[in-house]
Symmetry: C2
Subunit: 392 residues, 2 copies
């Protein structure tokens, strides 16, 4: 798939993480781009999140670059804001753009001082490495415990040609984004205003990143950026913009699914559909409760058709429903009707649960038209192994 | 420790669970006892919970017996209420008490029909086995995935002698009681009215069972009963009753800790103290969020002093606080002061974290006088192993 026009990418190893794998990366829009961001709702917000929010406010939604380091979250450290400021300034200087137009993200361990000189000393080398065809290098350099790189592309035909979107994201643990995710960057060469971007990003992230979890823990550094630099040179009608937002939503859902599938220790992507509640919000609360239940997630890991745990989790969502109105399917097979067990071939369902994709539906009869879809992963011993020895 | 007077106990194997280990048990008060209960807040409430609530309401808080089966939750089944009714009636008949004075609990798998005849056919044998010295048999017969039996005793001196309390509980997974726990029974020979019992049980459970979790999943069958039959023959002053409530609270905290320590796969009991918030409720929300975070719990399993995850979890509690006012200790060692890393011996702390008890404090400076204590356990691969193959 073609990349959006007018962007260049770079990455290198700056010695921030122990493994000698690129840990510093830069995305540059040749012309200042319209920019929107959604961020973690964690009260313990990292310095780069605070600075990026401030910069977006100061520029009213314009950005030239996104600087990212992996291996250190630059959160809960003495020098956090100083490092965020000095590193964005160093990059702004070599790019010859205002420092307020450089957005910044950090990801990695919390509470360990980040040595800013490791980044400032590499600013020139990073800028020298910029190239239009190095998108994949950035995709790889933002990874931490991720096992697979995550990216997605889209193209929207408009009069005179097509505008393109490219997105990348990272994340595998500490994942329950609320208003954003761990890290996600989406670039397009469409011409859209900052306020148009903000509306689109808010609506699209609600249906994608904010409807996904790995472990129910919301990071201190979650950030999702959307840049639009207009480099396609194409005008978009109101209808084109509607199609663009649809494509953006599909692309963000794709990225969100990639995160869930690569959840720490995960072997299965789990999709949960809830229907028939009074409101979409009620459906999402039930879907999230099911998707975050360790007992549901371990049952799925073990290919155990233990739908009683789905009932248990849904009952804890704080949403009123009658058990006798509930029907549940797993892998398309009805396992619970009107709140009661139905006969099903346990052998066949167990076999179907061995597939890499698990689908659970929870339908409430006569409750209303509310519905929601939530993505998560199964919960295996691998998660414990990874997280019992992450820091030390 | 002496058992309270006027109670008898019995258990036997009724073939409800596969393993040939007693799965049916009965607690009888020779005289009708004042009774109070707290129950699950899960919307998907099991039939025995519904019936026990109904019976307590009908009798205005009087009970003669508690019937328990392990191996099947009698929840989300076609015959749930029918089985709960016929089994309590069968027991009532052999005990010659009204059926409304028999309380009933079930624990085990959800959504599988419970064959009531396995219980009704054993009602007489169960009653024949009743003896004052078989308390330990009940303690053992209510266990499911528990590795260790759980019980606690207390005695309160009053004029003319002492009244006694004996309590037992079970539970190891699907544990985040809200208003009660999995199963817990507390018997006393003190003379207390049903309304006195209700108040005491509500206050004491808020500080014990409702301040504890293993995995954040609230069961459909949680029930905690308190019986007082007055068999001590001793009168209690208002002051005696205050001392009794204190002893009851300590006893329930003890039982709650026993559950957390025996959490599925757990190797460590974790105690979390939060202080300095505006209210006790805010402190409890932060403590619960820390205690339910899979990342905090896996770090503790790995003896990893990763206090950044404590910050992360606390930040997600929906409580306002300034990171710069936060100090954290682990095993008595200061690891974070004013929201920032402090120097500590990582080697020493790692060694201290290998102990079977983990203590984390989270103090907010200048926020207020709110405080709370929460109990949980570490999160190991054992939890996944147990729950990936529970049903099949």
């Amino acid at each position: 798939m073609k990349l959006p026009l007018g962007y260049r990418y770079s990455s290198l190893y700056a010695g921030i993480r122990k493994a000698a794998k690129d840990d510093l990366s830069l995305i540059v829009s040749d012309a200042p781009a319209s920019a929107a961001g959604v961020f973690t709702q964690n009260k313990a917000m990292a310095a780069p999140v605070i600075l990026s929010k401030k910069n977006l406010a100061a520029t009213k939604g314009v950005a030239s670059a996104i600087l990212t380091n992996a291996g250190n979250a630059n959160c809960a450290t003495r020098t956090g804001m100083k490092v965020a400021l000095e590193t964005t300034r160093a990059v702004a200087k070599v790019l010859r753009v205002p420092a307020s137009k450089v957005l910044v993200c950090s990801t990695g361990v919390i509470g360990v001082e980040l040595d800013g000189s490791k980044i400032t000393s590499k600013a020139k080398a990073l800028a020298d490495g910029l190239a239009t065809d190095r998108f994949e290098d950035v995709v790889s350099a933002i990874m931490t415990t991720d096992l697979v790189p995550k990216k997605a592309h889209a193209a929207i035909s408009v009069k005179g040609g097509a505008v393109h979107i490219a997105g990348t994201t990272k994340g595998s643990g500490m994942i329950q984004p609320l208003m954003a995710t761990t890290l996600g960057y989406v670039m397009t060469d469409a011409a859209l205003s900052p306020s148009e971007l903000r509306g689109m990003l808010k609506r699209a992230s609600a249906r994608s990143y904010n409807a996904m979890s790995v472990d129910g823990d919301t990071s201190t550094n979650d950030t999702l950026f959307l840049l639009a630099n207009g480099a396609s040179g194409l005008k978009m009608t109101a209808k084109d913009k509607g199609v663009f937002e649809q494509a953006l939503t599909v692309l963000l859902e794709d990225l969100a699914r990639q995160i869930a599938r690569d959840g720490e220790g995960a072997k299965k992507l789990v999709t949960i559909d809830v229907t028939g509640t009074k409101s979409d919000d009620e459906a999402m609360r039930i879907a999230r409760q099911i998707g975050n239940s360790p007992l549901v997630k371990t049952a799925i890991a073990g290919s155990d058709p233990n739908w009683g745990r789905v009932i248990m989790a849904a009952g804890n969502a704080g949403v009123d429903f009658e058990l006798r109105n509930v029907s549940i399917t797993m892998q398309g097979m009805l396992v619970c009707k009107n709140g009661l067990a139905v006969d099903f071939s346990e052998e066949e369902l167990t076999a179907r649960l061995d597939e890499p994709d698990t689908h659970v539906t929870f339908a409430v009869k006569g409750g209303g038209n509310g519905g929601a879809r939530f993505y998560t992963c199964d919960f295996t011993e691998g998660y414990i192994k990874i997280n019992g020895s992450y820091r030390t």
